[in-house]
């Protein structure tokens, strides 16, 4: 069975082979219309293979639909990379063409191409089988490259952004290592052959207009080869394609070309305009518009195709329209204005004609005073329009444009022209207000007025006329003319009643008058001021309705109350109004604004109704008062800040806080403990009355250190906790001591001064000088006249005037009074003072009662001049009237200068001097004038027990 099966199988195979051979012979029978004369060429720039061939054996004028199958292999014939069936109608003697674009540059690999054909025509259904393949056609460009060591392909290729590109290089040497770069970045390639590599670039991006640099370098050497890949952005379809005419002679077609492709000018796209009805075509010179000449009166409908085309892509748009529907008139011209008055003006213009039968619709717009008015006018050639109801002295802008009235397409461009209406007299009276002050019996009235608005002024205001009329003496009036742009003036009036008229004037006329009456009484009656609370939106003010008739109310205030020119503002309100909101952009937080509300009587006299004051926003005080400390004692001191103005503060002052820091840290009654921001603890006293600006800090410790601060407080906070003032209380006893010592010192000083001034008197009273008997002039007088021979005077012969013997214990002094009371009697023996003039012999009494020896040793000479005054006494000599006394005194003093050793004896008596004041008792033979009289020292009586006492008492003798 196996052998049988084997024979059967062999037989079957042979039969099958025979059948296949037959079939093959039938199908591969040479077709009469097989492709012949194949020629292959390449386009390196486009990397295209061009194939051309022909089909023979076609009858004359025979046309046959055929299919050509084309195979392309790369590197070797067996590596088929492309198969394509190309169907076409073949004519007699026709050369057929076919192209294929290679992804890989053709220079980098051999390509092979062959083809066969089949008839695909209904007329010859029996011929529907393929012809034999043609022989392979080889395309090898590498052979023609030359002998350079390195080539990079494709050269200068132009691609669209985002496409894929294959780059390759061909190297002549296998030993070289070659690296390739895209804009400096190395690329990884794929080896195609021993000397060929390829690089696939996917989604290439646009880098620059001049293209992307791709280059390969031999690693060992300077060789560099490269290409520039021109990457184009995708060509867009033209947008907004439109055609229109202005004169029915030329069509102007415009479009938006879209984004730039970013290519060099020579590579950028071109635009072509094609009209299908006429078959005309024009190449546009510009990228966004093109002109088309209209055939005169021959064509109404146009069908345009606009084609944008560059090396890579072609885009077309279409447009079908009727010419008369696309009329876009030119802009009107020669726009003029005539008969321009304050409220009217006539505008004229001309239009460009479009054919003979066209009417234009023109639109006229008038802009002025923020409004626009629009008018439509039908125009053939010339247009005219009257503007009415215009504002005087106002600049208007008129513009006109036109369109085809029969079939609207587009308005023309606008043509604009400005004009200004004439001036007219001001239409409204100026808004006037006043401020009245009384200065030295006069009424100083400051008039304010608001400039008229443009609509009210009707022109440029040149000046304001002010007529002041005395209502008491109506015949007297005064006219003031204030040039613009002043907004106020000041007039001084007496206490009479005045009516003031204010008018505004421009070049055409005068406005209605604004009347205000000013009485001599400024009207500032004491109205209590109320506080109002402001907000960001302003101040809400209200007042009581007035029982008497009022024609309105006026609220005035200063926008800048802190400035000398406070910028007075006012607001007029109707008679039925009792509240308003005053708002101003000038209101600032922390500034107190004062509002006055006036009622205007029917006689136009304003009278003050209410006063309001407030802040738009209260702020905490920024400054503390300047505090003066006084009355500092060991237990208290007084603080005073009377200069602190509560009016000028950024909020209403409600009171003051007095802070006191002490080391003790204890607070007395009325004070409370407070913790400051720096965590310091102190005592705080609250003064609720903002008008109280003094405070006595009591209950302090002597010789203690304190710090205090006074700060105002308001509803929004208190003042800053700045520097505390330091104070130290004094010692407790110091004031008392000062109170005692100071008067004492003063008294002592006073006493000393008195003593000094009255020292002479004191001396006389308290310790007068004791006269020296030896220096008495009486002695010499007696000696020279009575007895030249000295004899001892018998005591019996002496008739003493008076003798006083002092006996006092040593060490006990007599007081002045006691001295006074003893009343010692002295001998006044000197000549009269008047007779004493100059040096002369002294008169000496010799008292022999005393020791002769002592007498001998005593000086009894002449004293030619008074002894020289000691320096301490010079001051007393300076006064002329004191001079005689001084001389006398000094003289006497000199007499008293007796050596202590020689004055150890007591004396008993001395003669009275003739100068004692009793001249009548003088002797008949008065002694010769002598410069001085001296007492000779008298002999001592040996009274031993008295001796010591007498010595001690000797010093108090004085002689006068």
């Amino acid at each position: 069975p196996m052998a049988l099966f084997s024979v059967f199988q062999t037989t079957f195979l042979l039969a099958s082979l025979s059948l296949r051979t037959y079939q093959s012979e039938v199908w591969s029978e040479p077709l009469p219309w097989a492709p012949e004369s194949l020629k292959v060429s390449i386009n390196s720039t486009r990397q295209c293979l061009h194939l051309q061939w022909s089909v023979h054996n076609l009858a004359y004028h025979q046309e046959l639909k055929m299919v050509f199958q084309i195979e392309i292999s790369r590197i070797k014939t067996s590596n088929v990379i492309w198969v394509e069936d190309y169907s076409t109608t073949v004519k007699w003697n026709q050369v057929l063409h076919w192209s294929w674009e290679s992804k890989l540059p053709l220079e980098c690999a051999k390509h092979f191409l062959r083809m066969r054909s089949a008839v695909d025509d209904a007329k010859t259904p029996e011929q529907r089988f393929w012809s034999n393949w043609s022989s392979w056609e080889e395309v090898d460009v590498q052979n023609s490259l030359g002998h350079e060591p390195l080539f990079v392909f494709p050269k200068d290729k132009l691609v669209e952004e985002g496409s894929n590109v294959t780059i390759c290089y061909v190297s002549r040497s296998q030993q070289n290592n070659i690296s390739c770069y895209l804009e400096g970045v190395r690329m990884q390639g794929e080896q195609l052959g021993p000397n060929v590599s390829m690089f696939n670039l996917n989604h290439v991006a646009f880098i620059r207009e001049t293209g992307t640099n791709i280059y390969c370098k031999v690693d060992q050497g300077d060789g560099i080869k490269g290409i520039v890949l021109f990457v184009s952005k995708v060509l867009e379809e033209p947008k907004d394609f439109s055609c229109e005419t202005q004169d029915l002679m030329t069509l102007n077609c415009t479009w938006d070309p879209g984004r730039d492709t970013g290519l060099l000018k020579q590579l950028s796209q071109s635009y072509t305009l094609f009209e299908s009805f006429s078959g005309k075509k024009t190449l546009c010179k510009h990228k966004s518009w093109c002109s088309w000449q209209v055939a005169p009166e021959s064509q109404e409908t146009y069908n345009f195709t606009l084609t944008a085309e560059n090396y890579l892509r072609k885009r077309s748009v279409y447009l079908l329209f009727n010419l008369t529907h696309r009329v876009h008139p030119k802009a009107p011209f020669n726009v003029l204005f005539k008969n321009v008055s304050a409220t009217n003006a006539t505008m004229t213009w001309k239009v460009h004609t479009i054919g003979n039968y066209y009417t234009l619709l023109c639109q006229v717009d008038l802009y002025g005073e923020g409004k626009v008015t629009q008018h439509n006018i039908s125009v053939k050639v010339d247009g005219e329009h009257l503007f009415g109801g215009l504002e005087p002295d106002t600049q208007y802008m008129a513009q006109v444009r036109c369109a085809n009235a029969n079939r609207f397409w587009k308005w023309s461009e606008w043509t604009c022209q400005n004009f200004t209406t004439a001036e007219a007299a001001p239409s409204e009276a100026p808004d006037v207000w006043r401020n009245v002050k009384s200065v030295q019996g006069d009424c100083v009235v400051t008039l304010f007025w608001k400039p008229l608005s443009k609509l009210q002024a009707n022109g440029k205001i040149l000046f304001y006329n002010i007529v002041i009329e005395n209502l008491d003496r109506s015949s007297i009036s005064k006219l003031l003319s204030i040039p613009a742009p002043a907004n106020g003036t000041e007039v001084i009036l007496d206490q009479c009643l005045y009516q003031i008229h204010v008018t505004a004037n421009n070049s055409v006329g005068t406005s209605p008058a604004s009347v205000i009456i000013v009485s001599g009484d400024p009207g500032n009656t004491e109205v209590e001021e109320e506080r109002v609370k402001g907000t960001e939106d302003g101040f809400s003010l209200s007042w009581k309705p007035q029982p008497r008739n009022v024609t309105g109310y006026v609220v005035d205030w200063c926008d800048h109350p802190r400035d000398p020119l406070c910028d007075l503002q006012w607001k007029n309100l109707g008679p039925n109004t009792t509240s308003t909101v005053v708002s101003s952009g000038a209101f600032r937080p922390g500034v107190r604004y004062n509002f006055r509300i006036y009622g205007i009587s029917t006689e136009s006299v304003p009278y003050l109704l209410e006063k309001k004051t407030g802040y738009s926003q209260e702020l905490a005080p920024s400054d503390n008062p300047q505090v003066v400390m006084s009355n500092l004692t060991s237990h208290s001191f007084t603080l005073s800040w009377k200069d602190y103005s509560t009016e000028s503060q950024p909020s209403f002052i409600q009171g003051y806080h007095v802070y006191l820091k002490s080391k003790a840290g204890q607070c007395h009654s009325g004070w409370e403990k407070a913790v400051l921001s720096d965590d310091a603890v102190c005592c705080k006293y609250k003064i609720d009355n903002p008008k109280q600006k003094t405070f006595v800090v009591e209950n302090l410790q002597p010789e203690s250190f304190y710090e205090f601060l006074v700060t105002p407080y308001t509803s929004v906070g208190e003042g800053p906790h700045g520097a505390f003032t330091k104070v130290t209380t004094p010692d407790e006893y110091s004031p008392i001591l000062i109170r005692i010592i100071l008067p004492m010192v003063f008294c002592i000083l006073l006493l000393m001064i008195i003593c000094y001034l009255k020292s002479q008197w004191m001396k006389e009273k308290c310790y007068p000088d004791i006269p020296d008997p030896y220096k008495s002039s009486v002695l010499s007088l007696i000696k020279s006249k009575e007895n030249p021979r000295l004899t001892i005077m018998n005591i019996k012969d002496c008739v003493p005037d008076s003798i006083e013997v002092l006996n006092k214990q040593e060490g006990t002094r007599k007081s002045l009074t006691e001295t006074e009371s003893t009343k010692p009697t002295y001998l006044y023996l000197l000549p009269t003072e008047t007779s004493y003039s100059g040096p002369g012999p002294c008169i000496c009494f010799e008292n022999f009662t005393y020791n002769q020896a002592a007498s001998d040793s005593a000086s009894c000479g002449h004293v030619p001049v008074p002894p020289k005054a000691p320096p301490s006494q010079l001051g007393l000599l300076t006064s002329p009237e004191n001079l005689p006394k001084s001389l006398e005194k000094n003289y006497m003093n000199s007499l008293g200068e007796i050596p202590a050793g020689e004055t150890s004896l007591n004396y008993v008596s001395q003669l009275a001097s003739p100068t004692s004041g009793d001249k009548s008792s003088l002797p008949t033979n008065p002694p010769e004038p002598a410069l001085c009289s001296e007492y000779k020292m008298q002999m001592a009586i040996p009274l031993a027990p008295w001796k010591e006492n007498w010595l001690s008492s000797q010093r108090i003798y004085k002689t006068y």
């Binding site: 050269k155 400096g184 880098i207 001049t210 640099n213 280059y215 560099i224 490269g226 520039v228």
Partner: protein, 238 residues
């Protein structure tokens, strides 16, 4: 951007002012020192790469590592400094005049590869500067003793000589343009150095043989007036 534009434009303006006193209208300055000073200043400005080379490199995308290194002057494309120094003054001026004539033509060819109007304007200004400089050279040659054979002033109009044969390969053309501009600036730098030597030794007059001087660097420079045509691109002095 504006600063860059200013940096490019300012030197050209300065040059333009310098040229005001040059024989644009056919009148030469007869003051040697003044003319020489102008030539020196012009040379200083024309050797600045910011005037031509730098913007060219940037616009052509050659400012990348691996490419910049190849933007070097071809040896011999322009006369070397040594070659210029060996020339006598008259020969030097003639060589300079001729070389700059070639540069003018080459710049015209280069304009075709420059798409941006800004770069085109830059090249136009450079060409005007070169024309003015050549006129000054012409005047300087007249001031030299024995000026029987001098250079000719440069017409202000476009160059009439044929452009160098364009290479179909854009990349290679781009590189060549870059190398050319590099060589041009280097050449002007060498010219400036020669002028500096002139200033240091004003009375010195080189009398080397022109042939010897040109043997190395300016062998192919056309010195004769009768042959003013621009040599083909490959025949620029090497």
């Amino acid at each position: 951007m504006q600063a860059q534009l200013l940096r490019r434009t300012l030197p050209s303006l300065v040059l333009g002012l310098l040229f005001l006193s040059t024989p644009a209208m056919g009148v030469c300055l007869d003051k040697y020192q003044e003319l020489f000073g102008q030539l020196q200043k012009q040379t200083d400005i024309m050797q600045r790469t910011s005037l031509l080379l730098d913007p060219y490199i940037k616009s052509q995308g050659l400012d990348k590592d691996g490419l910049k290194e190849h933007c070097r002057e071809h040896p011999g494309a322009f006369p070397s400094k040594d070659a210029l120094q060996r020339l006598s003054r008259r020969e030097f001026l003639r060589a300079l005049h001729t070389t700059l004539g070639s540069v003018l033509h080459r710049l015209t060819a280069l304009q075709r590869d420059v798409p941006k109007a800004q770069d085109l304007e830059m090249l136009n200004r450079a060409k005007q500067n070169i024309r003015g400089f050549r006129n000054n050279i012409h005047c300087m040659a007249q001031l030299l003793p024995d000026s029987s054979e001098t250079t000719e002033p440069t017409p202000a109009g476009p160059a009439t000589s044929p452009s160098p044969t364009p290479t179909s390969d854009t990349f290679q053309r781009r590189l060549e343009g870059c190398r050319f501009l590099h060589g041009y600036h280097r050449f002007m730098h060498s010219v400036g150095q020669v002028f500096q030597e002139w200033g240091e030794s004003p009375s010195r007059s080189r009398r080397h043989s022109p042939r010897r001087g040109l043997r190395k660097g300016v062998r192919r420079v056309q010195l004769s007036r009768r042959n003013k045509r621009l040599p083909p691109r490959g025949q620029l002095p090497r």
